[in-house]
Symmetry: C2
């Protein structure tokens, strides 16, 4: 199964699952509803889709379904980051980092953190 491309709301759902580890449809609906309105049936429909593409799985617990993520958040991040990298920055990771440093607010602490990573990287 390929890169697993996700839509906006599908991603919201996955994030709830990654956060909680496991969740019922109702929990997911409520969580998303805290920041934006969404109908419960919409969430359920999307859960179907996610399950069909192998992104999540469920098991019955009583009469409700408990959903769990099958793909790891990190794997997903890698996939989507690489996609951005290839399609928008010509595959040049350096350009992306440069872009981030120039255009995004990166806190002093983050800069320090990055420097540490860089140093470790340079040693290899």
């Amino acid at each position: 199964m390929p890169p697993t491309q996700l839509g906006r709301v599908q991603l919201l759902i996955m994030q709830v699952l990654w956060d909680k580890g496991r969740a019922t449809a109702r929990e997911i609906t409520d969580t998303i509803n805290a920041s934006e309105p969404i109908a419960h049936s919409t969430v359920q429909t999307l859960l179907r889709g996610l399950e069909q593409k192998g992104a999540i799985s469920h098991r019955a617990e009583g009469r409700t379904f408990v959903f769990v993520p099958l793909i790891a958040e990190d794997k997903f991040r890698t996939s989507v980051t690489r996609d951005l990298l290839d399609r928008v920055f010509g595959g040049n990771a350096g350009s992306l980092v440069a872009h981030l440093l120039k255009h995004e607010k990166v806190s002093r602490e983050e800069v320090a953190e990055i420097r540490k990573l860089i140093d470790r990287q340079a040693k290899k």
Copy 2:
């Protein structure tokens, strides 16, 4: 007008325009066709869409249209990068950089380049 989200092929078209500065539909079709098959009419249809959403503009030159980008590649990169950042990395640019360094091949030269940027950043 908002962040200007682009589809996959729309992005290919924009990249040709960013590259060349200006191009006819035919040139764009040929360029894309060098790497993947696409019908000329498809390109023309997409050019319409791009123009409607304000991403490009055209003027007639003889009986053919010459298209030019209206949004800058850099602006686009910023928009799409921020989108990734917010939706996938919780808005934490440091996480994204860390992810890149851990998962992507970053050449020694790139690392050096990044370090320079970091140093400059740190001074501010």
